[in-house]
Each structure stands twice: as structure tokens, then as C-alpha cells.
């Protein structure tokens, strides 16, 4: 066995092409997951059982099963039903990309809503009462008082979830998508040099993780600027 360092440099351009797919999956599904998470959170704290009970079941299911199984249920499983093959969603669900986005979004929605709930519960009750005393309406109180503080409290947990999402995108390679892991696997199948290629991919993932962590760190600092004064 030889460890060919030049192979790493040769494979990096091919893998950077896969990185585009990874980033697309990451940003699209985290954005949609964030939107979904907010909706789920609002349903959950609404205090009406017919809204909060479905969210409970949803969160329980998506946090209790592996993402890989969720991806397989959606990609391999849904076409079993004729109704889905005839529906308007079929053009999206037929493509592995659409399935990966759907699975990652549903998964991240469940986690994000829990994270945001943690932030929401961490907001001091006194602030809420103060808002009420100042005569702010419920939507105003939610937008101007609760949200900024809840967001600040939720950032550390959210950045962790974002990193796990980055890692979860590698699972898209199992449903034939050529993300970075998928690209690496194809190159390995051709060259049979697993160490060089997979380690090169691992280094790119590490750099991306570091980059996002820095970004969230700076964002958190900015959101906490009221504490220092």
C-alpha cells in the first residue's frame, strides 16, 4: 500500500464540485427546516391541544428514528403509493435531490422547533409582564420582546444543529446524489485509494465545520452585545 499525497491534490477539484451540492442541500434544507421549526413551535405553544398534539407526535417520530431510515422511507418508500405517483408533488419526489431536501427539512424542523422552544422558555417572565404593562399587544410582544431574546438564547444549540445538518447531508450520497461524500465514493470506486480520497473529503468537511462555527460565534457575540453594556 502506498500513500499517494498527490492523489489528494488531484481529487480536491472533483470534490469541490461535490461541495456545491453539499452546500445546496445544507442551506436549502436548513432554511426550510427553520421555517418549519418556527411553525411547529407556534403550534406547540399555542395552548390548543388539536394544534400541539400533532407536533408532539411529529417531533417524537423524527427525533426517535435515524435520518437514514427517514431518507429511505421517503425516497424508496413513497413511490409505493399510486396516489403520490399521480400527485403534483411527483416531479419533486421522483428526484433524489427533492427527496433528500424533504427528509432533511422534516428532520431539522423537529430539532429546530425543540431548540427554539428552549430559547422561548428561557425568556424571563418579567419581560413578558413588562411588555404587557406597557400595553403591547400579544403579536407585538412576541415579535419585539420575546423573539430577539429567544434567538440569542437559541444560537449555541442552533449552531450545533447546523453542524449536524452539514454532517447529515453526507447521507444523501446513499440515494445516488453526488454530494461531497458521494463524489469521494465514486473516486474511490475508480482509484481504490480510500485513505487519500476519504481523508481529503474529511479535511474539507472539517474546514467547513470550523468556518460555520466561527460564523455562529460572531453572530452570537453580536446578538449578546446588550449584555456587555
Amino acid at each position: 500500500m502506498t500513500f499517494d499525497i498527490y492523489l489528494i491534490f488531484d481529487s480536491i477539484p472533483k470534490m469541490l464540485a461535490g461541495m456545491g451540492m453539499t452546500l445546496q442541500l445544507l442551506f436549502l434544507s436548513s432554511f426550510l427546516g427553520l421555517v418549519l421549526g418556527i411553525i411547529i413551535l407556534l403550534m406547540r405553544i399555542s395552548g390548543r391541544w388539536y394544534l400541539s398534539f400533532p407536533t408532539f407526535v411529529y417531533i417524537y417520530f423524527f427525533r426517535g428514528t435515524p435520518i437514514l431510515v427517514q431518507i429511505f422511507v421517503i425516497y424508496h418508500g413513497l413511490p409505493q403509493f399510486e396516489a403520490i405517483r399521480d400527485s403534483v408533488f411527483w416531479p419533486i419526489l421522483r428526484e433524489p435531490f427533492g427527496c433528500a431536501i424533504l427528509a432533511l427539512t422534516l428532520n431539522s424542523g423537529a430539532y429546530v422547533s425543540e431548540i427554539l422552544r428552549g430559547g422561548y422558555l428561557g425568556v424571563d417572565k418579567g419581560l413578558h409582564e413588562a411588555g404587557k404593562a406597557l400595553g403591547l399587544s400579544t403579536p407585538h410582544r412576541f415579535i419585539y420582546v420575546t423573539t430577539p431574546i429567544a434567538v440569542r438564547l437559541a444560537i449555541p444549540a442552533y449552531s450545533n444543529d447546523f453542524i449536524s445538518m452539514l454532517k447529515a447531508t453526507s447521507l444523501a450520497s446513499t440515494i445516488t446524489l453526488l454530494d461531497m461524500t458521494g463524489a469521494a465514493r465514486t473516486i474511490v470506486a475508480k482509484t481504490f485509494a480510500p485513505y487519500e480520497i476519504f481523508i481529503a473529503a474529511a479535511i474539507i468537511y472539517l474546514v467547513m465545520t470550523w468556518f460555520f462555527q466561527r460564523g455562529f460565534g460572531l453572530f452570537e457575540k453580536r446578538m449578546s452585545r446588550y449584555i456587555k453594556q
Binding site: 431510515v69 453526507s170 474529511a202
Partner: protein
């Protein structure tokens, strides 16, 4: 239930890695410190799937070339995917456990450790009889979460060909042509196992905090 076997094997290894890693991080030895930091950064930043692939294919190619050097007619040697997968998962979860245990060790009252020293316990005894039990109580809630993610990571080893539930479901799909039903059964099995883990962890937490009952 191959999944439960992988779970048990890698849980034991992950706790061991966590204890070694956290002691290395807290020790005054700078080299041990650096190695432990590198370990947590790498294994927490690289996707689980990629780690499993590196271990499985990497070990296969290494062993094959060693085999060829000794006995030139060797075709292909690999370690059982079961062990490659379990080891890779254990290293990943171990890196998370390292951070958890580190925090928990710091949470142990230094007075207790000094008391143990004053009673003449060696540092090895102090570690296993005083520090570990004390820190365990603080680490339990996070350990529960790590166990859940470990359980869910076991699904990944079907990719390197271990015949666990997801793999069996794939086989069954080829026969029954009902993929949704098959994969949903897998999901429900996982849901059942994670629910059991959650309840066990709740009971364990209650048990480990029983000395606090009545206070507050």
C-alpha cells in the same frame, strides 16, 4: 438483533474512549492534551458516514497489502464490517462523551477529591471510586442523548454491508415490493428502542440522585 449488539459493543467502547479522552484533556501533560483536542475536533467535525467508510475500506486495503507482503497470492482481506462499524461509531460517540465527561469532572467538588487524598487513597483509586461515580451523576442527562444518537448511528452500518434491520428491510423490499411498509417497520422498531432508552435513562437519573431525595 444485530443492531442491539452493535449498540452494546460500541457503547462500552465509547464510554472507555470518553473516560480516556477526558482524563487526557484534563491532565497537565501537554502532549496528551493536544492529542485529545485533535481527537474531539476531528471526530466531531467529520460526517459519521465518512468515518465508517474510512475505517472499513481503509482497514481492508491495509490488511490486504499486509497479507500480500506475507503471502503474495492473497486476494482480499477485510475485517468484519461489524467490527469496523462498531469501532467507528464508538470513536465518534466517544469524542462527544469526552466533552461531556470533561465538563462533569470539572463539576465534581474539589473538596471531595482532597478528602479522598487525605484518607490515603491512591490517584487510581480516587479516579475510579470517587471521581467517576461523582461525575457520572452529572453526566447522565447528556449520556442519555449520546446513547440515542449512538442508537441512530447504527443504521449507517448497513451501508458497509452489515445485515442489520435496514439491510434486511432492503432485502425484504426486493421480495415484497412494498418499500414503504418495510422501511416504516424499521422506523417503528427504532422508535421503540429509543423510547426504551429514554425511559431507562429517566429511571437511572432518579436512581443516581436518590441521595438528594428529601433535600430542597
Amino acid at each position: 438483533m444485530v443492531v442491539l449488539k452493535v449498540f452494546a459493543v460500541s457503547l462500552v467502547m465509547a464510554v472507555a474512549f470518553g473516560l480516556i479522552g477526558s482524563s487526557a484533556k484534563l491532565s497537565k501533560n501537554r502532549i496528551a492534551n493536544k492529542i485529545a483536542s485533535a481527537y474531539t475536533i476531528v471526530f466531531r467535525g467529520v460526517p459519521e458516514l465518512l468515518v465508517i467508510l474510512i475505517f472499513y475500506y481503509g482497514s481492508a486495503i491495509t490488511l490486504t497489502s499486509i497479507g500480500r507482503a506475507i503471502y503474495p497470492q492473497t486476494q482480499f482481506v477485510d475485517i468484519a464490517p461489524f467490527w469496523a462499524g462498531a469501532f467507528a461509531i464508538a470513536l465518534i460517540v466517544g469524542s462527544y462523551a469526552t466533552e461531556t465527561f470533561r465538563g462533569a469532572f470539572l463539576g465534581v467538588d474539589p473538596g471531595i477529591i482532597e478528602a479522598a487524598r487525605a484518607l490515603g487513597l491512591s490517584s487510581l483509586h480516587t479516579f475510579f471510586y470517587i471521581r467517576v461515580p461523582q461525575m457520572w451523576r452529572l453526566a447522565l442527562p447528556s449520556v442519555g442523548n449520546h446513547m440515542l444518537s449512538l442508537m441512530k448511528d447504527t443504521a449507517l452500518i448497513s451501508i458497509i454491508g452489515v445485515e442489520e434491520i435496514l439491510y434486511v428491510a432492503e432485502m425484504a423490499t426486493a421480495v415484497t415490493l412494498k418499500p414503504f411498509t418495510m422501511y416504516m417497520i424499521v422506523a417503528v422498531i427504532y422508535l421503540g428502542i429509543t423510547t426504551v432508552i429514554t425511559f431507562v435513562m429517566m429511571a437511572l437519573e432518579k436512581h443516581s440522585n436518590r441521595h438528594l431525595a428529601g433535600t430542597r
